[in-house]
């Protein structure tokens, strides 16, 4: 009997411990499109480059390609360094017979720069207005609201817009590609083949030659051209397709004042949203959140072989590195 009473008491306590109301779980999620930036070093036909064979020639072109895919607003540089060229001796090298890196230089043929498919990723901001008429106006007024609705600074969904390319004037693009540096590799690198050079110094600073760079632009011409592209893209689209539904509902609730919005049936809310007139604001630097595009540079490597150079095959290593700015 005592055990039965104890059990009953325990069940009573357990029943009291159960909350009277259940909790809803809401999954909060966010997408942060960081995008990507990829460097490719290729021959002029677009095939991956692992070796650059001059043969008996003294000049070799190659291609550097940087691909941005909804990339954040950051610039880049692609830098090259060059080792000395060492005479091949069997399966190794004659470290005493070299062509100095200072005899290797970077130059550019005419029109070395190109740009494909530039796009801007924009988070547009809208101003919206609507004048309610007829039954819709009567319903809103009956709820205590005004028939004139004004919503300013509504954050829109991200848009990706195509931009025109004018190779003669690239300054209006979000990321402005720039031709690299010319000149010789005055100080050698000791990477690759040069790493085994017995004369490699303890510390060294190789000469860097930039072969392409991309500079972030916030120039007014950039913002003007992106604004024009955004306006063309969103023209004719309803507000409901340009702004997140909850953002739009929240803005409308603020515009109508909370209690009026809460008193209106959802069908009336939908009718009001369907009739909103939108104006997209001029794009600011803060609204321009990323860019896509392919940036191409066609440098060429020239070698000057000194007259006293011993005949034979020579090898060295060109290192190409992308640096985020």
């Amino acid at each position: 009997m005592k055990r039965l009473l104890a059990c009953a008491a325990a069940l009573s306590i357990a029943a009291l411990a159960v909350p009277s109301a259940s909790a809803d779980e809401v999954t909060v999620s966010i997408t942060n499109p960081g995008g990507s930036r990829t460097l490719y070093v290729e021959n002029v036909l677009g095939q991956p480059l692992t070796s650059l064979d001059f043969g008996t020639g003294r000049s070799q072109p190659f291609r550097v390609r940087v691909v941005d895919t909804t990339m954040d607003r950051s610039g880049f540089q692609v830098l090259t360094t060059m080792s000395n060229l060492y005479k091949v001796s069997g399966s190794s090298h004659d470290w005493a017979s070299t062509i100095a890196s200072s005899d290797v230089s970077v130059a550019y043929p005419p029109n070395p720069l190109n740009l494909l498919n530039p796009k801007a990723v924009v988070a547009p901001v809208y101003d919206m207005t609507e004048t309610l008429t007829g039954a819709l106006c009567t319903t809103v007024q009956a709820a205590g609201g005004s028939c004139s609705i004004v919503m300013n600074g509504v954050d829109g969904l991200r848009q990706t817009v195509d931009l025109a390319v004018d190779l003669a004037d690239l300054s209006s693009l979000p990321l402005v590609p720039q031709t690299g540096e010319t000149g010789d590799f005055t100080s050698p690198d000791y990477a690759g083949i040069g790493a085994a050079d017995p004369n490699k110094p303890g510390s060294f600073t190789p000469t860097n030659k930039r072969v392409i760079s991309g500079v972030v632009s916030t120039a007014s011409t950039t913002l003007t051209s992106v604004s024009a592209a955004v306006q063309a893209l969103v023209a004719g689209q309803p507000a409901s397709s340009l702004v997140d539904a909850d953002t739009l509902g929240g803005s409308l609730r603020s515009a109508l004042s909370g209690p009026v919005y809460d008193a209106l049936p959802s069908t009336v809310i939908d009718q009001i949203i369907a009739g909103l007139n939108k104006t997209v604001r001029a794009v600011t630097a803060a609204d321009l959140v990323g860019q896509s595009g392919t940036y191409l540079s066609y440098p060429q490597l020239d070698v000057n072989v000194p007259a006293e150079t011993s005949p034979g095959s020579y090898e060295g290593t060109l290192v190409v590195t992308a640096v985020q700015l």
């Binding site: 650059l52 020579y314 060109l318 190409v320």
Partner: protein, 46 residues
């Protein structure tokens, strides 16, 4: 980062051409002079 092997060939330098001593122009001028002198010598002998 990409590492690219750069290679090239340095061919043996061609040997300098042996000196002939006389250019063809000088040789022809001398030959002509010799011919003229020879002709004059023949004429004097007659």
């Amino acid at each position: 980062m990409s590492s690219i092997t750069v290679s090239l060939e340095v061919a043996p330098r061609p040997l300098p051409l042996p000196r002939t001593g006389l250019s063809i122009e000088v040789f022809l001028a001398l030959a002509l002079l010799l011919l003229v002198v020879g002709a004059l010598a023949l004429k004097v002998a007659r």
